[in-house]
């Protein structure tokens, strides 16, 4: 490569970097950007308020499920493939991560990476048959594949190899120090969100959206559907895998329950509470979900009951999620305060 082209390449990189810099600068000046930054600073400061394991635990759970819900939102919101079996990737990574920590004594981050990569492999594996299926058929197929994983891992006959109905336990937490654990999860959440949003804004994101809106048209204009659909499945599986591995460590182990449709529905509910195809809406939905669950935990009889009512009302009156209407209202009020 000639020096000229190298410098040209360097220049392009520089330009791109400065471009993204100015983009970030502009973004941070918008209302949305400012609010996001305030929220992030708020999250960073939480451990100053409390070092209580329980309170931090709620945040940690919410962060884990933020990543999980965002991974579903990426697949459904950007590429239009509604999966009812997101728990497959969540669960398999939980199992692999736990296995490597418990039996091969690998450090947690290496196990988590391996777990998520196995999740990617499952994404590919499930993405291939899913290519032939659309809409409700894809939904059912992924749900049934999740059930197959569930019953396979639960099956007594496979107990010697897969751990049986009680799974793998005694997984240590990431750190005995709750604050440290909190910040590690926070970093994972922010990084995952940045990457997912960045992919959404990149060229690949545009391709995904064109597939979502009109796959026949996209194919006609020369987009390789197979390639991009599989890539979307794999990216989504990777982040679901990260969430699954973190989930296993936070709960000190895994059992076949991680493959239950319950967790897939958690992801769907949280992402849609926040708003589909927004990624950051998933975080809002997840925090809302876990705070509500803990707020009502004083009355275990009625807590989930109340939550079901809230869920129905939210979806009924804000079908595109609460993120956008909330942001708009907040902006209106803020503008008024500033006297704009």
């Amino acid at each position: 490569m000639s020096a000229k082209s190298l410098s040209k390449g360097k220049g392009r990189v520089k330009k791109k970097l400065s471009g993204s810099k100015s983009y970030l600068l502009n973004w941070s000046k918008t209302f949305r950007g400012r609010l996001t930054i305030i929220c992030l600073i708020g999250l960073c400061l939480i451990p100053l308020l409390t070092q209580n394991r329980y309170y931090l635990g709620i945040f940690i759970t919410a962060m884990i499920f933020s990543i999980f819900a965002a991974s579903w939102d990426f697949l459904a919101g950007f590429t239009g493939q509604v999966s009812f079996g997101q728990a497959i990737f969540f669960g398999i990574s939980g199992y692999i991560t736990s296995y490597f920590i418990r039996y091969l004594y690998l450090p947690w981050w290496a196990s988590l990476l391996i777990g998520s990569l196995v999740g990617v492999a499952f994404g590919l594996l499930i993405g291939i048959p899913a290519l032939r299926l659309k809409g409700p058929y894809l939904g059912l197929a992924t749900m049934v594949l999740g059930l197959i994983m569930f019953y396979t891992f639960l099956n007594v006959k496979f107990e010697p190899w897969l751990g049986g109905s009680e799974g793998i336990s005694k997984i240590p937490q990431i750190s005995r120090n709750a604050v440290e654990t909190y910040y590690i999860h926070l970093i994972f959440m922010i990084t995952s969100f940045l990457i997912l949003i960045w992919i959404g804004k990149s060229k690949m994101g545009t391709v995904f959206k064109s597939i979502r809106d009109d796959d026949i048209g996209a194919e006609a204009s020369g987009i390789n559907l197979t390639k991009y659909k599989l890539i979307a499945f794999m990216i989504s599986a990777f982040f679901a895998g990260i969430a699954g591995g973190l989930f296993a460590m936070h709960n000190r182990g895994v059992n076949p329950g991680v493959f239950q449709p319950l967790y897939s529905f958690y992801a769907i509910v949280m992402a849609s509470l926040g708003g589909i195809a927004t990624i950051s809406g998933s975080a809002l939905g997840s925090y809302f979900f876990w705070f509500a669950a803990e707020l009502f935990s004083e009355w275990p009889d009625v807590s989930v009951f109340i939550f079901a009512i809230i869920l129905i009302l939210v979806i009924r009156f804000a079908e595109h999620g609460i993120l956008k209407p909330v942001l708009e209202r907040l902006k209106d009020i803020w503008d008024l305060v500033l006297g704009k």
Binding site: S165, E166, S169, R252, N255, I333
Partner: protein, 475 residues
Amino acid sequence: MNKKLNYKIYRSDENMERSTKRILAIVLVIAVAGAGLGIGLWFVFAPQESIFETPGVSGVSDDRLIKIGLLGGITEIQGEGNYEGAWLAAYNINQAGGVQVNGTTYYIGLVAEDTDESNPVLDVTKGVSAAEKIIEVDGAEYIIGGFRTEALKAYVEVVMDAKKLFLGTGASTDYFCGNVYGEAYSSYTRYKYWFRTMPINSSALGGSQITIMAYLGGYLSAVLAKPVTKVAILREALDWTIPMANALNTYLPYYGFTIVADIQYPITATATDFATYWNQIEGLDAQITIPVISAQGGLYMMSQYAALQPQCLIVGIDVQSQLDTFWTDTSGDCKYETIMQSVHRTNKSDLTIAFWDDFVATFDHEPLYTAVGAYDSVNLIADGINATGSFKAQRLITWLESFTRSSPMIGKSVTASHIAWNPSHDLEVGWPFGTTLYCQWQADGSKHVITSGNLLYPDSIVTGPISLPPWGIND
């Protein structure tokens, strides 16, 4: 001109409206921010009023409490039993004047958190979060509870991290005691805080089953004047049934039995599935069927048994059948079923009948095994604190460990006259230590403790004879 004036008024109106709105918005923002901050601060710093319930006494300050946390699925039978048993024990202790420690009177305070572990669709985060809350926020010093192995495996680690004494009242698997001593990956220093007070472990349940089978085989052969040797096992396809099934498959042949079927059914099995299981069992001429069931399968098993009338006797584990409501839930179809039950209204120890009547009078239903375990556990904690004069977990552990098979605790428990723990902090078993009773549903809706031929427990505590189904037993 008129028009102009109008416009001006309109303009100023609009301005007025805008500024009013602005003021309102500022007030709103400040109010919301203030409220948010206030709630946040209150949550973190507020000296909360005591969340501990003190049955039998009122107005006890927090520093005079023995703080006991109850973990379980509060809305379902096992967790409810755990709570009721602990409540009754706390009530009795507090009414009788509390616990004396170094000249100061302390009372039992209870707090319960929901782990939602009996939910068939299990979410383990509920258990972990409940355990963190009960220790870190509520401030419980001693934990009682636990039932579902998968959920307990997760949150037992939280309790061990916090180094709090944990008395298990619901899980029968060997795993948790194996953590303390004797199994791979066991670690005494980490898991020594765990003790089991109920039920006896699953291997011992297997041993009891083999013993009662040995007795019943001889008894039935004599009564029916034909050899009774053919046995079927009907069990949930879950890990906890494996040790018991292995024990039965290995040892029953030594007692002259043949295992004609070992059916493992998935927990999703339906009523129709149970009809097919009974037809298979009946087709193989089984004379005794051993169920190993903890969930709703027992209901289907009994309703299909009553309808199809296979010619065999049912003797084994069926957790839901321990409840007195099982009779109405099966519309009486559960008659002739014999099940393991840790306590019934009989003189298992000198305290059992008094406890039983007290419990029924208080809660209007019979105690589940977790209730009995929790009742004993609260009493153990109170006795331990009284005896050692200390609230430290380590002192209580040493105290509990001092009760061994050769120097047991006598006359303190409602489940057995003698109580002691082995090195893995599991209950010692075998009369007069931890024993399981065999109870049979009778045609009139009552439940009897049947004889074990003096092998498991003495005939003096038997309350009724063995009834055979009128449709007979296979040849």
